[in-house]
């Protein structure tokens, strides 16, 4: 029980109103464990992103419960949810969402700055995080001077620099080629296995399957048993996952 970083219990969420109302989640139970890389897969409109937003405390469920590091989020207001995100969760976005006017190091440092970390210490931690993702040579580069893969690595460094308990990644390889995709997944796997964070990767990129410790499928707002091709993919060597 203590290894659960984020738990969703009987979570339901309806989006929109009137005729456009959609039941995005229809009672989801999911737990993210420390040191485990979980893949959340499903077709478009299945509810993956809604579940990610709820697990990431950006959206409140209509019913059910979300527990982050043993604390229920039910009573938290917007600022309270922001604090939970700040204290426990790192995010990696498909479109990176780096600040175009800040250098790679400053982008990473921002995650510490919002936590009120002292500048010198934050700068040192940022350098370490960039080193971990192999970008120690690019700390002063602006995002536009970096490749897509490098930008995503900066985004990962930003997500992990504060040593969060959980890292939630939304389609992190979606815009990357095979080589960069593999690098990113290796980094995310090491964050789970070496740093002990709970890592959730939302994707419909089958190339990432070999990196998963666990695969969760969602369809029509419900978690379902994994499709039949899952085990074959899991047996595929990681090196071959994104082609050679």
């Amino acid at each position: 029980m203590k290894d659960y970083i984020i738990e969703a219990k009987a979570v339901k969420k309806t989006l929109g109103s009137g005729a456009g109302q959609v039941r995005a989640l229809r009672g989801v139970d999911l737990s993210l464990r420390r040191g485990e890389l979980t893949l959340l897969m499903g077709p478009s409109g299945s509810g993956k992103t809604t579940l990610l937003l709820i697990l990431g405390c950006m959206l409140a469920p209509n019913s059910g419960q979300v527990i982050v590091c043993g604390r229920s989020t039910a009573d938290a207001d917007k600022e309270g949810l922001a604090k939970i995100r700040r204290d426990h969760i790192g995010f990696v976005f498909q479109s990176y969402h780096l600040f175009p006017t800040l250098t790679a190091a400053q982008n990473v440092q921002l995650a510490l700055d919002i936590r009120g970390e002292r500048r010198r210490k934050a700068a040192e931690k940022s350098r370490q995080a960039l080193k971990m993702v192999g970008l120690q040579q690019k700390i002063d580069a602006l995002p536009h001077a970096l490749s897509g893969g490098e930008q995503q690595r900066v985004a990962i460094a930003r997500a992990i620099v504060a040593n969060p308990s959980a890292v939630l990644a939304d389609e992190p390889t979606g815009a990357l080629d095979g080589s960069n995709g593999r690098t990113i997944m290796n980094i995310l796997a090491s964050i789970a296995h070496e740093r002990g964070s709970a890592v959730l990767v939302v994707t419909h990129d089958p190339r990432v399957l070999p990196f998963a410790d666990r695969i969760v499928h969602i369809e029509d707002g419900r978690l379902v048993d994994q499709p039949s091709d899952g085990p074959e993919r899991l047996r595929m060597p990681k090196a071959a996952a994104f082609g050679t």
Partner: protein, 377 residues
Amino acid sequence: MSLTLTLASRNLLHDRLRFIATLVGIVFSVVLVMIQMGLFLGFGHMVSTMIDHASTDLWVVPKGAKCFEDPSLLDLKLRDRVAATNGVATVIPLVIGFSDWRLDSGEMTPVFMVGVDLRDGGLRPWNVVEGNAQALSQHDTVAVDRSYFERLGVTGIGSTAEIRGRRVKVVAITDGIRSFTTTPYIFVDLKNARTYTGTPPDRANNLLVRLNNGADREKVLQAVRAQVGNAEVLTTDEFRSRSRSFWLFGTGAGAALFAGALLGVIVGTVIVAQTLYSSTKDHLNEFATLRAMGSSNGYIYKVIIYQALLNAVIGFCIATGIGALVVEITAKSALPIVITPWLIAALAVLTVVMCVASAIGAIVRVVRIAPATVFMR
């Protein structure tokens, strides 16, 4: 530099054209307010210039006199009563009034006579650059300011003209004693002033009261007040304030200047608010990212307010430079613009308040950002 300040400055410089437009708006606004308030102060100084340069502690003025130029008269018998009051050293009658100045060419122009007994001092011409103020004790002699030479048909010492049918000679020339109206001041001896203004010998417009060294001003003031009956006794500060209040607010001139300043503030606020809002809108995705990362609203407000403050500081510095130039250019004009350290400090505060207030629209916009939007983009 803190990261929030870095982010704020980069956000501003990201769109240089918009940044320049913002600065132009702030500079326009601050310079407009500075000039209006500088005119207000300059006008205030000009309307009280005679009071400021009078060597006196108290003024005895006709009841209800609104300003230095008030033509009402006092009975000179008051002079002896005031002079007999304990603590009073000297009482100096002052005669003022409008008269006509006839140039040698035959043209007429109105002038404002200022006459005191030069032996007593009280209100001598100052900044005398040619001739001698003592020479005014001679009959039919005058002191004029060099800025009115053309108007008065004067070329220098020894020039002549006619006042009320009497030939007068210029014996002293001053520099920078300008009237806030178009009517030049002419300094003369008390007797000549009576002649030129038609003031009876037993009347004066004001009495200038000097106190003995070490006299208790408040006590003497009360004692003099008890002596003057229907007249009023004012300290120099009170008379200055009353005079300024009459000309600045009684005439509506001050209100017009304040209205101009207010317009400047409104224009500046609208321009800064508009550009700050549009800058924030352009960076909405970044603010949403910050929010998604867990930043507090306060952190985001700080970035926006830093942007506003940077606008304010840079805009204010440029505006102050322009203001200094305007002060220099208008120094010798009919209405010099006066910018005091207090005005600069007040404008600095006003600029900051204006820019920070302008950030409210942007902040309201940011507050509405849902962090989840960052996953939709």
